[in-house]
Structure formats: C-alpha cells, structure tokens
C-alpha cells in the first residue's frame, strides 16, 4: 500500500514481500479483509473443507454446498441463500460441472454450454543468461520482492510495433542481479570443475537474469475443462480433464516474444544460456487460467452477467478468473479482486433489496 490503509502503515520498501509483511503494508486478504469480516461476528471460516458440488433445490436455485472434510473424509453440507464460488478457475469449473441435477443436467448454470469452454491460459516463454559486464562485481541486494523485479508492459499496440497477430504480451524479468537460483541451477552449465569453476560461479553470481514473456491466448471453444467420466478424487468426485492447445495466432506471438527477448539481450550485451529458440513453456506454466465461466450480456454466449452472477441461477456468483471473457497478458489477481469486490457489493445490494 502506498498510503496508510485500514490502520496499517504505508509500505516501507524494506522487506521481502514474498515472506509476508511485518507491517501488513502488502495487501492480502488475511490482513486486510478477513479480520474485519470476523469482527462483525457474522463470519464463520471452515478450513479443510473440500467442496464437491453446489446443491440445488427443486426450483433450480442453489441451496448450499456439499463438501468433504479433508482430515476425516466426512461428507457435510452447508445450506445458504447465496453461494459465491471462488475456488480458482480450474476448480471452480470442476465444481460447477460436477453440480448436476434435474434442473441442470449439464452442470449448474450451464444451459448455454459455455462453462468449461474458452479456457485461456497465457503462453509463456523463458530465457536465462548473464551479463558479462556485471560478472565479478560485488553481490547486490537487488533481487526485488521475490520473483519478478522489472516488468515490461505490452508494447505492440504502439505505432510500428505491431505484427500479424491479435492481442499481445508483456515480460517479467526475474532474479536480476544476485540470484540464488542462478547460483545453482544455472551454474551447473558452466564447464569444468575445481577452483576455476568456483571462481566463475562467484563472478557470475551478480550477473544472472531471467526473462519471461507472458502472452494472451485467444478464447477458443475447443480449449476446455471437462470433468472426467472415469477418474475421481479420493472422495469419489470426478476430476477435471483439460483439453488445451495454442493456435496460429499464439505461434506468431511466440515468435515475436523470442525476437524481443533476443533483441533485448543483444542490446544489453547479455549471453543466453541453454536458450532454445521456439520453445514454449509447458501449457499451464503461467498459472493464470481464465475464461471457463465467462461473463457477458448474452445468456446464450456467457454464463455470468456483468456482476459475476449466473444468468441461469441468480443466487450463484463466480468471482475468480473463470469469469473473465479473455485472459489478457497480465497478472490477473488484482483485477479478480476488484471484480469480486464489485460483485459482492452488488450481492449486498440485491439482498438488501429483497431480490435474493
């Protein structure tokens, strides 16, 4: 937080955010949302509850959820006026598709058959290397917040920067400078052994860098999450099955990503290590899944309205990345949070007005 918020001070820019913040100046729900909700005395948190299905009544509306206690395996239910789903894209989709009933044979709220389809997971490439100009310089404390340190926003919308594909990509720069992961996994690529190897590892320690472009994948109906007909988890609940492939548009984008990485490294005087042009990271590496329960104005082509509320089942809200109609090339968490916040404001309003 750049300013004092909810009684917590502004960021001091002196910690390792990835390990948690001593002053709670890093926004997270455990510091900034849940304690305030608990203070109302109207929140009960049930941990270790693995939700399997949304239960529906004869009117087709949701009436609660069925879950299993992770420690004992016991099956339980929570009954509710409204169900808000936020289990992350893949698992929310699985829950929705597993929530079949006479009113919802294709999964709850899925008369349109869009739930599970249009899975958008970004494509990711990566390159690692080092800057000879930095080799042998003192180790610096410049690793950043723990992960990406520098972010290069999408640029291909600028004049003269576009290419023959739709949408675009941004890039994250990781472990710039002193890199612990650089000290081991990459150092093993340095030839030889002995004192000369040790010297070379030390020289390169402050010089490593990693580049990770993330690109948007268009929403395709054939990229989809289904639930398995044969494989179940230990509670007997069908597992997700994912069909996913990238298309021509993404392949063209990946080439632009590779060209961009190579151009940056060349201009900066870097040396790439173990670089294989054209290699795309395994599908799912970006862990930014979206799109399988998308919002939209048309109930035939979307599952949720503009407030994350199901078109077909108005007492179910889905508030994670699955609600996005496309992925974008960016990290989605803050947008997910903003949309969820907006959806729950709407939910409170609707309850107040007696519509739910």
């Amino acid at each position: 937080m750049t300013r004092p918020t909810r009684g917590f001070p502004a960021c001091h820019y002196c910690g390792n955010c990835g390990a948690g913040c001593d002053t709670a100046s890093f926004f997270c729900s455990a510091d900034h949302l849940l304690p305030f909700a608990q203070e109302t005395g109207r929140l009960e948190i049930v941990s270790n509850a693995v939700v399997a299905r949304i239960l529906t009544g004869e009117n087709g509306l949701a009436r609660g959820v069925q879950y299993f206690d992770r420690r004992t395996g016991a099956e339980r239910q929570v009954l509710a006026r409204v169900v808000v789903v936020g289990a992350s894209c893949v698992d929310s989709t699985r829950i929705l598709l597993n929530s079949t009933s006479a009113a919802h044979p294709n999964g709850i709220g899925n008369g349109s058959d869009v739930i599970g389809r249009y899975l958008c997971e970004q494509i990711r490439l990566h390159a690692v290397g080092y800057f000879p100009a930095l080799a042998g310089t003192p180790t610096r404390n410049d690793r950043g917040i723990g992960g990406e340190h520098i972010y290069m926003p999408r640029f291909n919308h600028r004049p003269g920067r576009g290419r023959d594909y739709l949408r675009g990509f941004g890039m994250q720069f990781w472990n710039t400078g002193a890199s612990v992961s650089g000290a081991h996994s990459l150092s093993a690529t340095i030839p030889g052994f002995g004192a000369s190897l040790k010297k070379e590892i030390k020289a390169r320690h402050p010089a490593w860098f990693e580049m990770h472009p993330y690109g948007e994948v268009l929403p395709y109906a054939h990229n989809r999450i289904m639930v398995s007909k044969s494989r179940v988890d230990r509670y007997g609940v069908p597992l997700p099955h994912i069909d996913y492939r990238i298309g021509e548009n993404e392949r063209k984008m990946a080439l632009h990503m590779a060209d961009t990485m190579e151009e940056i490294v060349k201009a900066a005087g870097g040396v790439l290590v173990n670089y294989r042009r054209g290699l795309i990271d395994a599908m799912g590496s970006a862990i930014h899944e979206h799109g399988t329960c998308r919002m939209g104005a048309d109930p035939k082509r979307s599952a949720l309205n503009g407030f994350n509320q199901m078109h077909e089942v108005n007492n179910v809200f889905v508030v994670d990345g699955s609600a996005f109609p496309n992925a974008s090339e960016k990290n989605p968490t803050l947008t997910i949070l903003a949309l969820a916040w907006r959806a729950t404001d709407r939910l409170a309003e609707e309850m107040k007005n007696g519509n739910l």
Binding site: P4, F8, P9, H12, Y13, C14, G15, N16, G18, A19, G20, D22, T23, H126, P138, T139, N141, R143, G146, A178, V180, S181, A183, H184, S185, S187, A188, P191, G192, F193, G194, A195, L197, K198, K199, I201, K202, H205, N274, R276, L279, I280, D281, A282, G284, S285
Partner: protein, 207 residues
C-alpha cells in the same frame, strides 16, 4: 530438508521441466533431470531451514549410501567445489545434502546414482588400478577432465557424463545453499533466507 511431500510436489516441476525441455541437454536421461530438479528444490528448502537451524549434527551416518560410497561422494564433490579461501564442498557437508536428496528420491533415481558411482570406480580401476577415492588427486582430476570435455563422447563414456552432470549440479546446489556457500563464498546477504524478518527499523518508515 523438506518432507517427502515437498519432494513429491516437486516432481511436478520435474515433469514440467521435462515437458518444456528447457532446463537441460535434450539427451539427458530422465533420472538425471529428475535428480537435478529434486536437489534444486531440496536446496531451496534447506537454505530456509539452515537459516533457522545453522547448527549441524556432529555425528552423522549416510542413509542412502554405504560408508564407502559416501567417501567417494566426499572426494568427488570436493574436487568439483574445492577449498580455496573459503571452505569447499567437504567443509559445507555437501555429501550429507546429497545423501538426503537420494534418500527421498524415488528408488530408480537412487539406484542410477549408485550405478554412476560404480561406473566411476570401474573407470578409475581401468585407468589407474585404483578405486576413485584412493587414486591420486592428479589421477582424479584427470578422470574428471575427461568427463568435462566438450564434444561428442564415446558411447561407453555416456554413463559417466550423465553421472558427472548430476553430481556436479547436486554439488553446486548443495554448496551454494549453505551459510558457507551463499554468504562466505558468494558474499550474498541471503536475505531471502532470514529465519524471520525482524522488521524495518528506519524511523521514517515506522507507523
């Protein structure tokens, strides 16, 4: 060291790495990539644990390896990262790290590693009429130089090259995730591995 669950979890990373083919030479067998990824992950976990428990037990016996195999590992890892103005792999107890990783690794990977040690001894006996650990430092270095050589190896050398690749990566990981390797040798503040963040003490940043 992490729990076996940590290592299981990270097999996913191994598979991901293999799927991308990004981490290494395409011709490396599965066990090579698997052990490297497992040790990479174990190194991260250990670096954190080390920060809170820097003391190490004085008495220790290998669990995955025999005492003789452990001796070979000590000699081999010290050749890879030797003592200079800072301690080497022996001083940083890299052999214990490797034994820990092997203990938690799947049986197949563990056996492949042990076969690699066997290969090293056989090769050493062929060349120098002595097990590797008992050969002279010059002979040991000679053998490792052959395993470090660039270019296309003879087919019978491949097993040795695979093994050396694993041992080298595990040694580097095991060494540079210790107090000795990270702080003393690299001069890294190691702030990612502080046992706890004491808090920012800049007066202007206090609430």
């Amino acid at each position: 060291m992490g729990t076996s669950e940590d290592l299981r979890l990270n097999r996913r990373r191994v598979l991901r790495t293999l799927a991308t083919g990004a981490a290494g030479v395409a011709t490396s067998p599965l066990w090579v990539e698997a052990l490297i990824a497992l040790s990479d992950e174990a190194g991260q976990i250990r670096a954190h644990a080390h920060a809170s428990q820097p003391a190490v037990a004085a008495s220790w016996t290998p669990k995955a390896l025999t005492p003789a195999q452990n001796e070979t590992v000590i000699v081999l890892t010290e050749l890879i990262i030797p003592e200079t103005d800072t301690p080497g792999a022996r001083g940083a107890l890299v052999n214990r790290f490797i034994d820990d990783v092997l203990q938690k690794a799947p049986q197949g990977e563990r056996e492949s590693f042990v076969r690699g040690l066997g290969w090293l001894d056989r090769q050493s006996r062929t060349l120098f009429r002595s097990d590797f650990a008992a050969a002279t430092p010059a002979q040991q270095a000679d053998l490792l130089t052959r395993l470090s050589a660039e270019g296309n190896p003879a087919r019978e050398q491949q097993a040795g090259l695979d093994f050396f690749r694993v041992v080298k990566a595990m040694t580097i990981t095991g060494y540079y995730t210790t107090e000795i390797g990270l702080r003393q040798e690299l001069g890294d503040p190691g702030q990612l591995y502080l046992p706890r963040f004491a808090g920012c003490d800049h007066p202007e940043h206090q609430a």
